[in-house]
């Protein structure tokens, strides 16, 4: 397939015109990275909703997934689509912005205003491209910690996220156990599986095989590897859905035709749908960001630092972590299946940590956490209510 689109994605110089907030941190001292390199100063783009209370005890950090961004509630500035989590976040929603102060920041390495490979490297005056250091989930979280410190919040009421967001939630709980009261990793895992790494590699190879990629320097050539990026998105998108959901949505239905075309146009609705997914994705996402962020997910292995012992991740000075956990998985999610969540639950139970866990029955696959799942939203709201009661947080006015 061919996808020809102009450089519709947000160019670096336009980033400052995006809605939301921007802050530049790590100015005097660059932020150390897990790789040993360091990065700074760095800009973090974020949005907030609700009001921070007087003792800064009602802040919820929402961590977005691979291709998400800080616009969880606002209309997206590029696609004009509703916020990616508007079903779960907002006044009177499960994450009630009348009660909580919700922060969502574009991850390090992202492409919606936070420092990433398409931003200008102050050292060279050119976009970082492939000279951007390889980052990890822990690095993303360290950058978020800088932001949370900057906002004057000593302890987050809760950190919540799905998929790659769940990885960040776990990393927060492990790296900053005293700065997190509750943690809700949704559809996540303690480490990325071989199968998931394999899917990511397919996506990366598609991008790098696109002649417009130019070794990562496409911005200097005034082109973008849209074909490769959209194929990457198409492959990944399949993994976000369940077979049942795909079948229910499309079956073998034909697209705008009554009979097979005996060619390679999108005969089937499912092909047309995937092409559309790929096609629209390139409008809002940067190919190099896709490479860097998928790499960060691949490198995620929470217990690796602890000799492979997952329980030890949740010990603080020999004692059990004070963080209260609630792990959620979805029955038809084969990308981050329930057994991955259960591994974490078992480790937490084994050290008598405070943990809840539930598998939500859904046939919508990995993407279920983004969709209208009333049972999931009830758990989300219920966990926060219980947390608020234990924390002594007042109800919404």
């Amino acid at each position: 397939m061919t996808v020809s689109r102009d450089n519709a994605a947000v160019a670096p110089e336009e980033a400052r015109h995006l809605p939301g907030h921007f802050v530049t941190l790590a100015i005097d001292q660059p932020m150390p990275l897990e790789s040993g390199a360091s990065l700074g100063p760095l800009t973090i783009a974020y949005t907030t909703h609700g009001t921070l209370n007087a003792d800064a005890s009602n802040a919820i950090l929402v961590c977005h997934a691979l291709t998400g961004d800080q616009y969880l509630l606002d209309r997206h500035p590029v696609t004009s689509k509703p916020g990616w989590w508007e079903l779960a976040v907002g006044p009177g929603r499960a994450i009630d912005t009348d009660r909580y102060f919700v922060i969502c920041a574009n991850v390090l390495g992202g492409c919606m205003g936070t420092t990433g490979p398409k931003e200008i490297d102050p050292a060279t005056g050119k976009p970082y491209g492939m000279s951007f250091p390889v980052i990890t989930i822990a690095d993303m979280v360290r950058a978020q910690k800088l932001l949370v410190d900057h906002l004057g919040i000593a302890k987050l009421f809760c950190v919540i996220g799905g998929s790659m967001g769940a990885m960040q939630v776990l990393q927060w709980a492990v790296d900053y156990p005293d700065c997190v009261y509750g943690a809700m990793p949704i559809a996540g895992a303690a480490r990325h599986s071989a199968q998931n790494i394999a899917f990511h590699e397919v996506g990366r190879q598609a991008i790098m095989a696109d002649p417009d990629w130019h070794g990562g320097d496409y911005l200097l050539h005034d082109v973008r590897p849209t074909g490769g990026l959209s194929v990457a998105r198409m492959a990944a998108h399949i993994t976000y859905l369940s077979e049942t959901a795909l079948h229910r949505k499309f079956g073998r239905n034909l697209q705008d035709r009554r009979a097979l075309g005996f060619g390679f146009d999108a005969d089937f609705q499912v092909e047309s749908y995937l092409r559309h997914q790929g096609f629209t994705f390139v409008d809002r996402f940067d190919a190099n960001s896709y490479l860097y962020i998928t790499r960060a997910m691949d490198y995620f292995d929470l217990p690796a630092r602890y000799g492979g012992n997952l329980q030890d991740c949740f010990r603080v000075d020999g004692k059990v972590t004070p963080v209260r956990f609630c792990l959620v998985s979805f029955s038809s999610d084969w990308l981050f299946p329930t057994r991955e969540s259960r591994r974490i639950v078992h480790a937490l139970n084994a050290i008598a940590a405070n943990v809840s866990s539930v598998e939500i029955e859904s046939d919508k696959g990995h993407d279920a956490f983004l969709l209208d799942e009333p049972q999931f939203h009830a758990v989300l709201a219920g966990f926060l209510d219980g947390l608020a009661e234990h924390r002594g947080l007042k109800a919404a006015q």
Binding site: V345, N349, A350, S357, E359
Partner: protein
């Protein structure tokens, strides 16, 4: 939620808890010391834990097999893990709780003896309740009717029940002895809802509709 082994739908928890809970849960709640740590195995919708938190500020955890029960429990602000008494108790460390509660669940598990050993390992004490198959009305039904008893305590037909390991009070106390488990208290819940302290034996085996025991490792 019936398939988790409850005999009846749990009564809804009142808006201002601290007043009442289901009759067979009250004597269990009464045994629990305030501000202690409790694991409720097979906690259903979390009614006991909810009550214990509000009435006694008990730090509770639940283990529950049904999606619906877990969801309701978490939505009530409880810490509930989805899991199975037969499969998941092995993951819990020893002496992690003051009490481990197994209410009306023993007869539904695959290996009651293994579960019992886990209970007294994980908790300093365990509280176990189960429908007594030696209860005189149950005996009478089997004796006179010649068919599997269907009573208020055992409301489901034999083919429909989740109860796969029914036992009498005497069977239970014998098993405890064989496993080296000490019985600190033994209560009989009468049909009237009255709870009487009865030492294990013939009388308790006839009069208890539900047997409730406080156990520890012997």
């Amino acid at each position: 939620m019936n398939h988790v082994g409850r005999f009846a739908e749990p009564a809804p928890v009142p808006p201002h808890p601290g007043q009442t809970i289901r009759a067979d849960l009250q004597p269990i709640a009464d045994m629990v010391a305030p501000a202690s740590r409790v694991l409720d195995v097979g906690c259903a919708d979390g009614a006991l834990l909810h009550y214990l938190w509000h009435a006694k500020r008990v730090d509770g955890r639940g283990l529950e097999i049904s999606h619906e029960g877990v969801r309701v429990g978490i939505s009530r602000g409880l810490s509930v893990t989805q899991g199975d008494a037969d499969m998941d108790l092995a993951d819990y460390p020893s002496d992690a709780f003051d009490y481990v509660v197994l209410s009306q669940t023993l007869q539904t598990v695959r290996a009651p003896h293994v579960v019992l050993e886990h209970l007294v390992r994980i908790g300093r004490q365990a509280i176990v309740s189960f429908p007594n198959f030696g209860y005189w009305r149950v005996r009478l039904q089997l004796l006179l009717g010649g068919r599997m008893p269907v009573t208020r305590g055992l409301p489901l037909q034999w083919f429909d029940t989740p109860n796969i390991h029914l036992c009498t009070v005497n069977d239970f106390t014998t098993l405890c002895r064989d496993l080296g488990i000490a019985i600190d208290r033994s209560l009989a819940l009468r049909r009237s809802g009255r709870v009487i302290e009865l030492p294990p034996g013939r009388v308790a085996n006839l009069l208890a509709e539900t047997g409730i025991f406080l156990l520890r490792k012997g």
